[in-house]
C-alpha cells in the first residue's frame, strides 16, 4: 500500500483522475471546487497533458466532447451554477454516446446562491438536461471514496459510453483527510468507435447526435436504453449501515451520511434501532435494498442538504409501503446530528415505535 498523504477532497479527485489516465482537463474556476482546477493546472503540464482554462463553462464542456470523440479520457469540473451552463453539452455527450467524467462540487442555490456546501443538485444530476438520457451519478462520503469513485467513474464512463458524474459538495471538496493513493486496478477499454484517424484502414467513424429520420432517432434511443438497463442491473452501489435490526432507516448520501452515522450512534444509545442505506450510486438508484428494507423497518428518513429531493426516489423504490420523512437543511447549512435525532424521534412516533 502506498504511504498515505493528506489531501483536500478537490485535490484528491484531481490526483485520482490522473491515476485513471486522464490527461485532458477543461474547466473554469468556481468556488468551492477551484482547488481541483488549480491542481490540474500545476500537474498536467508536467505530465505532457493538456490543462486548459476555457473562456466559459460552455466552451469547456464542448472541448470535453471533442477530446472524448477522439477516444481519450477527459474530464471537467465545476460547482452548481457552472454545471447548469454545461447542461447542453451533457445532453450532446449522451446523444453522441461519448464517455466523460464530470465533477459537481455543489454549493447552495438556486441561482447564484452561495458558496457554502449543498446537495441541491440531486434532481439535476439524476434527471439531467434535455432529451431521453441517463447519467451515472456517484456520491462519495469521504476523501478516500472520492479517489476510488473517480477511478471507477472513468471506468464506467468508458464501459457504457456515457457520462459519469461525481456529485460532491463544498464540505467534501474542502475537507482534508488522509488518503491512500493506491490505484485499484485501472480498467481501460478499446475504443473502436473513436474518431482518431482511419490510417486508411477503415471507414470513417462519425460521431453525431443529429438524426433527420424520426425512426432512426427512435432506434438510437432504444439501443441506448438497453445499455442503461444493463447499468441498472449491474452497477448499483450502496452501503448498508447497522441495518440488521434497524426499525428506522435513514437514507442519505455524501457528507450528510456521515452526520447520519453520528445520529444513529446517538439513537442507539437511547434504545432506538436506527440504521442507514447510503446510496453510493444515485443513478442507478439502489431500489432493491430499499424495497427489501420495507419488510423490517417502520419508516424511512432522507437526510439531505436540499429541500428533500431524494424523498420521491425513496417513495418510488419502497412503493410507499412505509412513511418517508425528510430531515433537511439548505442554503449552505449542514444538518447537525441533533437535527437528525429530532427526525428519528418523529419517525418513531409515526412508525408506532416511540420509546
Amino acid at each position: 500500500m502506498a504511504e498515505k498523504v493528506l489531501m483536500k477532497g478537490n485535490e484528491a479527485i484531481a490526483e485520482a483522475a490522473l491515476m485513471a489516465g486522464c490527461r485532458h482537463y477543461f474547466g473554469y474556476p468556481i468556488t468551492p471546487q477551484t482547488e481541483l482546477t488549480a491542481y490540474m493546472a500545476k500537474r498536467l503540464p508536467k505530465m505532457d497533458g493538456v490543462f486548459l482554462q476555457a473562456e466559459s463553462e460552455l466552451a469547456a464542456i464542448n472541448m470535453v466532447i471533442g477530446v472524448s470523440a477522439a477516444g481519450k479520457r477527459v474530464m471537467t469540473s465545476s460547482s452548481s451554477p457552472g454545471i447548469s451552463l454545461k447542461g447542453e453539452g451533457l445532453s450532446y455527450l449522451a446523444g453522441c454516446d461519448l464517455p466523460a467524467f464530470v465533477v459537481n462540487v455543489q454549493r447552495g442555490g438556486p441561482g447564484l446562491g452561495g458558496i457554502q456546501p449543498s446537495q441541491s443538485d440531486y434532481f439535476q444530476a439524476t434527471r439531467g438536461t434535455h432529451g431521453d438520457y441517463r447519467t451515472i451519478v456517484l456520491a462519495p462520503d469521504s476523501v478516500q471514496e472520492m479517489v476510488s469513485l473517480t477511478i471507477k467513474g472513468f471506468e464506467l464512463a468508458d464501459k457504457y459510453r456515457m457520462t459519469a458524474m461525481l456529485l460532491a459538495d463544498g464540505t467534501l471538496g474542502q475537507m482534508m483527510e488522509p488518503v491512500s493513493l493506491d490505484a485499484d486496478k485501472i480498467v481501460t477499454f478499446e475504443k473502436p468507435w473513436a474518431a482518431c484517424g482511419t490510417g486508411m484502414k477503415r471507414p470513417n467513424n462519425i460521431i453525431n447526435s443529429l438524426s433527420l429520420i424520426p425512426e432512426e432517432l427512435e432506434q438510437w434511443n432504444l439501443t441506448r436504453f438497453k445499455r442503461y438497463d444493463i447499468v441498472e442491473e449491474n452497477e448499483v452501489m450502496y452501503e448498508e449501515y447497522m441495518m440488521e435490526d434497524a426499525e428506522i432507516c435513514l437514507v442519505s448520501f455524501g457528507i450528510t451520511a456521515r452526520v447520519s452515522k453520528n445520529a444513529i450512534a446517538e439513537a442507539r444509545k437511547m434504545g432506538i434501532k436506527a440504521g442507514m442505506i447510503r446510496p453510493i450510486t444515485l443513478w442507478p438508484f439502489p431500489k432493491k435494498p430499499l424495497l427489501a428494507a420495507t419488510e423490517k423497518v417502520k419508516a424511512f428518513i432522507t437526510v439531505e442538504m436540499n429541500m428533500g429531493q431524494m424523498v420521491e426516489d425513496v417513495e418510488l423504490a419502497t412503493r410507499c409501503r412505509r412513511p418517508v420523512l425528510s430531515c433537511t437543511r439548505c442554503g449552505g447549512v449542514i444538518p447537525s446530528p441533533d437535527d437528525v435525532m429530532g427526525a428519528i424521534r418523529k419517525a418513531c412516533e409515526l412508525g408506532g415505535d416511540a420509546k
Binding site: V5, L6, E177, P178
Partner: protein, 221 residues
C-alpha cells in the same frame, strides 16, 4: 516564542498555516498585552482564522479578517484594518497568509512597511504528507514562487508534517530528516515542529522546539 513584532505564516496551500497561526496567537497572548491575529487569506473561502474568532477574542486577541470570510460571498477583499499591522506598533502581530504564491500576493501591499521596520519573522509551513510538497526540491519551488509573489524572504521553517487524525509519533519523527533537507536546500533554519497536543507525551524530549496545538474546527462541526 516570538522575539519579533510580526510573525508571518506562509506556505503551500493546505499546509496548516491557519491552524498554526491561531494556536500560536493563543499561546503568545500569555506573554503579550497587545496581540493581533490578521487573516490575510484571499484564496480559501472555507476554513478561516475567523472560525476561531470567538475563542481568540475571548482571550483579548484582536482579530482582523475579511468582512466576507465564512459568508456566502466569495470576495477576495481585505479590510482597511490590516494597516494597523504596520501602523500600530504597540501590537505583536501574527499573520495568516493565504496559500501558495496566489495567497501570498495579498501580502505585497504590507511588505514595504514590514521591511522598513525590519522586526519580523517570515515562517514557511511545510508538511511532507501533502502530495505536492513531499520532497525538498518541490518545497524549494514553492518557496521561490511565494517569495517572488510577496517580495519577502523566509527566515524560518515550521515543520507541520501530519496526516490529520491518523498522525503517529513515528510520522513526526520520520519527518525531521525531511525538514532538515528542506532547510539545507533552501538555506532557512528550522524554527519549530508543530504537533497535535495529544502527541506531546510521546514526543516530548525527542524533538527540539516542539509546539503542541489544538485542532481548530469550523463551529458547525
Amino acid at each position: 516564542m516570538a522575539e519579533k513584532r510580526i510573525t508571518l505564516f506562509a506556505g503551500h496551500y493546505g499546509s496548516g498555516k491557519t491552524n498554526i497561526a491561531v494556536n500560536y496567537a493563543l499561546a503568545l497572548k500569555k506573554q503579550r498585552e497587545y496581540l493581533m491575529l490578521a487573516d490575510l487569506d484571499i484564496v480559501n473561502p472555507y476554513y478561516r482564522a475567523k472560525d476561531s474568532a470567538r475563542e481568540l477574542e475571548a482571550q483579548g486577541i484582536r482579530v482582523i479578517s475579511s468582512f466576507f470570510a465564512n459568508s456566502n460571498v466569495d470576495l477576495p477583499a481585505l479590510p482597511q484594518d490590516i494597516y494597523a499591522i504596520t501602523d500600530d506598533r504597540r501590537y505583536t502581530c501574527v499573520l495568516d497568509v493565504g496559500g501558495d504564491d496566489r495567497g501570498a500576493l495579498a501580502l505585497g501591499r504590507l511588505v514595504p512597511a514590514i521591511r522598513e521596520e525590519g522586526d519580523y519573522e517570515m515562517l514557511l509551513v511545510v508538511n511532507r504528507f501533502r502530495p505536492l510538497t513531499r520532497d525538498a526540491q518541490s518545497v524549494r519551488e514553492v518557496v521561490e514562487e511565494i517569495e517572488t509573489a510577496c517580495r519577502l524572504p523566509f527566515t524560518g521553517i515550521v515543520n507541520n508534517s501530519n496526516l490529520g487524525i491518523e498522525t503517529t509519533p513515528e510520522d513526526v519523527l520520520g519527518s525531521l530528516g525531511y525538514a532538515r533537507e528542506v532547510s539545507r536546500l533552501c538555506g532557512i533554519p528550522v524554527k519549530m515542529t508543530t504537533i497535535e497536543e495529544n502527541l506531546l507525551p510521546a514526543l516530548q524530549g525527542k524533538v527540539p522546539d516542539l509546539f503542541p496545538m489544538k485542532l481548530q474546527k469550523r463551529p458547525t462541526e
